[in-house]
């Protein structure tokens, strides 16, 4: 059952909740949803899972952007309620008619909701019962695909025939088989095969082909007509034979694909097929609608060509409401622009979806263009993402740790060659300048020369270094270093680790051990600004491995990002965005040069400006 359904404004005022469902929710799933999903530009997702003590909920939501309303439904995760999406869209429709900005109570919506819920439940029941009824719709759509396939197959077969003109009769034969395959597929999908059917579909598929071949085809169809149902099995056998003959032809694989299906024209297969379709059905519909949108889009340029006057008029008059198809071209351009700035493709895509979700249904003001509206929305979204949600004031935290008499431990992690040791030295230099005593711990016990490299930095900066040589367990070295630091009252311990690829399981396990054993105050991911699409993989895998391989219930994840080589990338600053979006951690430092002083804070506003330039 539905746990709760809420309607609230973007400002945060709850307008309506269902009193009948008035179960007390455990924890605060709504606030969690808003904070960790909607405000993180993840509203393009379909559902949000919330776990609290003794409860696990799934939340679904929908926006009404023009009125600034949000509709959220909450239900127990174990119940897969299928009607929730349906119900939400109905509630949205009905409620937006009632809504008035000055009104804050909507008692009269109780009855409407009750009715809507009943309706939605009934429809869900019906859908469950009417599995067989759902069949025709599905088979139709599938059939369309089949026809397209058939067309391909026929064309290919046609080509084949051209190549083997001298052996026309055999060609004829094969053609007939092709068509036979297509038809038997159609039958398998629920249309009973009769002779009439075969007759019908043969000319149909023939229409796709070149007219020259039609004659031959009709001959073949005649041949086919003469076949009765009984020898069909025989025929199938024949096809396998034929197939063997053209083993090296490219069309082979495609046709082979359909063959086994045709052979298994039994009831059982059909039933299994339908069983899956219930779940798939929506998907199919949605993919269809996508196709429709594509078509609309492809039709759009024509609209644009029709004249700038109409678009001008539209921009002056102000368009009624923004639809997804209106936004699509502008969003695509924006996505491309983000990608040229080295933002990972996946992230650019998600961001655009989220921006689309926030704009869809909004009214376009007069004298504004869609592209500028989209750009403004994107700018706001980027600013929101890059604004850190946790404090980036490390000095403050160091002082707090000092008061407790503990050293503040920072672990630097990252893939190979991004500049962990170099930037560790820069951070050490920066801390030293603020009268904080620093100690380095050389826990890269793997790469030769790593300890020496760190020792050189330590000598230049005149700070102590804790080292145990190579081939030691880095977790133990780090632990001893921290003990040493609390003995000689160092304020900060900077732990250098070996670089590792995110897929290297044993090394990731070692890192997880190091972090869990020592419980550092800050896990700093060092990533280079040059990275493109791989940023997503690196950060998500590091985070995931740290979570998976940890034994404690609340694993330590990446708390912050140090972006290196920032001076080399000119305006391709997209890596900063990709990393922050994926991990949710802020960029704490930016390394931008070769000397110790080249450590900066991230200037969020300039990054946003550069990204949208």
């Amino acid at each position: 059952m539905l746990e709760q359904l809420l309607i609230f404004t973007r400002g945060g005022l709850i307008l309506w909740t269902c009193k009948e469902l008035g179960n007390a929710l455990k924890g605060s799933p709504i606030d969690a949803l808003i904070r960790s999903c909607l405000l993180e530009e993840r509203s393009g997702d379909s559902a949000f899972n919330y776990d609290a003590a003794g409860a696990s909920y799934t939340l679904k939501w929908t926006f009404h952007n023009e009125l600034g309303l949000i509709f959220v439904a909450i239900y127990q995760r174990i119940l897969h309620l299928l009607y929730v999406d349906d119900l939400l869209s109905m509630v949205k429709r009905e409620f937006s008619e009632l809504y008035h900005p000055k009104r804050t109570y909507y008692e009269d919506f109780d009855d409407i909701f009750r009715q809507l819920q009943k309706e939605a439940e009934a429809r869900a029941e019906e859908m469950k019962k009417s599995k067989p009824q759902a069949k025709p719709v599905e088979s139709l759509t599938k059939k369309e695909g089949q026809i397209a396939n058939k067309k391909k197959g026929v064309l290919l077969a046609g080509k084949e025939k051209v190549s083997s003109k001298d052996d026309a009769s055999e060609g004829n034969h094969t053609n007939g088989h092709k068509l036979e395959n297509g038809n038997s597929n159609g039958r398998e999908l629920g249309t009973k095969t009769t002779h009439a059917d075969v007759k019908k579909s043969v000319p149909e598929s023939g229409a796709f082909d070149v007219s020259k071949l039609r004659k031959l085809r009709s001959k073949a169809s005649k041949k086919m007509d003469t076949f009765s149902k009984a020898p069909k099995v025989e025929q199938n056998k024949k096809t396998t034979k034929k197939n063997r003959v053209w083993d090296d032809s490219p069309s082979e694989s495609k046709l082979d694909f359909t063959d086994p299906m045709a052979e298994k024209g039994t009831e059982a297969v059909v039933v299994v097929d339908q069983g899956e379709s219930m779940m798939d059905r929506e998907e199919i519909v949605s993919s269809d609608s996508e196709i429709d949108e594509d078509e609309e889009e492809s039709g759009k340029p024509d609209n644009k060509k029709r004249g700038w006057f109409s678009s001008m008029f539209q921009s002056i008059a102000g368009k009624t409401v923004l639809e997804k198809s209106d936004l699509e071209p502008a969003l695509k351009a924006l996505k491309d622009r983000l990608m040229t700035k080295n933002v990972a493709e996946e992230i650019a895509e998600k961001l655009c979806e989220s921006v689309a979700a926030s704009l869809e249904g909004k009214k376009l003001g007069s004298f504004t263009r869609i592209s500028s509206t989209v750009q403004a929305a994107m700018e706001e979204a980027l600013l929101r993402i890059l604004t850190p949600k946790r404090s980036v004031d490390i000095l403050r935290e160091v002082h707090a740790a000092k008061e407790q008499g503990k050293p503040y431990v920072v672990v630097f992690v990252g893939v190979n060659g991004v500049g962990k040791s170099t930037n560790l030295a820069k951070v050490a230099y920066w801390l030293l300048q603020h009268n904080i005593s620093v100690m380095m711990a050389a826990c890269d016990t793997f790469r030769s020369g790593a300890v020496e490299q760190l020792r050189t930095h330590a000598c230049r900066l005149q700070i102590p270094i804790f080292e145990k040589g190579y081939e030691k367990d880095p977790a133990v070295v780090a632990k001893e270093a921290i003990q040493e630091a609390s003995r000689n009252h160092s304020d900060v311990v900077l732990v250098d680790t070996a670089g590792r690829m995110q897929d290297n399981e044993p090394l990731m396990r070692a890192l997880s051990k190091l972090i869990n054993l020592n419980g550092p105050d800050l896990v700093l991911f060092v990533g280079e600004a040059l990275v493109g699409n791989d940023a997503v993989d690196q950060l998500s895998k590091f985070n995931q491995k740290l979570a998976d391989l940890s034994t404690s219930s609340s694993p330590m994840l990446i708390d912050g990002i140090l972006l290196t080589k920032f001076d080399t990338i000119d305006d391709k600053v997209g890596a900063a965005l990709s990393m922050v979006y994926i991990s949710g951690a802020p960029v704490m430092f930016v390394g931008c040069g070769q000397s110790y002083t080249d450590l900066k804070k991230l200037n969020v506003k300039s990054i946003v400006k550069t990204l949208l330039k």
Partner: protein, 243 residues
């Protein structure tokens, strides 16, 4: 002769045009200045979950309705305070803005600060200690903003949810915040000069920080949004927005 006359006329026209332009621009500037001085905007700020939105609706409607959730957009409204609606005579409405407290939405505050006549910083008195540092940081950011310092925007630190038994007293909260800001002052001034967001230093150097050191007036008050006990806010608003 004719040419000379013509020239005179043309120059005269130019002068007239210039005069008109000058006159309108002066009027426009005056108008803007006039509006600036009579700003009636009160900004509600504070951490997420401290009760700003409830306070906003208490001021507007005198009721918290059916509860609130985390805000995603600012709430804005020009209205006559609910407690004053029964009063007779013409009362000037107050423009109240409730800025979301989520840290990702903080940049929005700057938009409203430039026209603020007063700022109410809402602190959760019930759940104060875990959020103390975050609250202090936010307050520090606000108090060091150029727009706040230059225009001397008065700030009311409002300890909300005082109806609850376990809520901290306002003196305790004030002391804790002062202590935290004092620490922040040393650490923030040290942060590298690359991206300076805090344009001003707070308080008197060499002394531990007190709110009385601020150039703008900082006061501390108490309220309870849920029970509607908000007289100190209303008092603050009426002090700085004349009715």
């Amino acid at each position: 002769m004719e040419q000379w006359l013509n020239q005179v006329f043309i120059t005269q026209e130019v002068y007239v045009a210039l005069a008109v332009l000058f006159f309108t621009s002066v009027l426009f500037l005056l108008f803007r200045l006039f509006r600036r001085t009579k700003s009636n905007t009160i900004v509600l700020a504070g951490l997420s979950g401290s009760g700003k939105t409830v306070l906003f609706y208490q001021l507007q409607d005198g009721s918290s309705h059916q509860g609130t959730v985390t805000s995603m957009d600012p709430n804005e409204g020009s209205f006559v305070l609910h407690s004053e609606t029964s009063k007779k005579g013409k009362i000037k409405p107050v423009h109240v803005v409730d800025v979301p407290g989520h840290s990702r939405l903080r940049p929005k505050l700057d938009e409203f600060l430039s026209q603020a006549a007063g700022l109410v910083f809402v602190v959760d008195a019930l759940d104060f200690l875990p959020n103390c540092r975050a609250a202090a940081e936010y307050l520090y950011d606000i108090l060091t903003k150029a727009s706040v310092v230059n225009k001397r925007i008065p700030v009311l630190i409002l300890c909300n949810k005082t109806d609850k038994v376990t809520a901290h007293s306002k003196d305790f909260i004030r002391k804790q915040l002062e202590k935290e800001i004092d620490k922040l002052r040393t650490s923030r001034n040290a942060v590298s000069e690359a991206d300076i967001s805090n344009e001003f230093t707070l308080g008197v150097s060499g002394q531990s920080f007190m709110f009385s050191h601020c150039v703008n007036k900082v006061t501390v008050g108490e309220s309870s949004g849920m029970t509607g006990e908000i007289s100190q806010v209303e008092q603050f608003i009426r002090e700085h927005v004349k009715s």
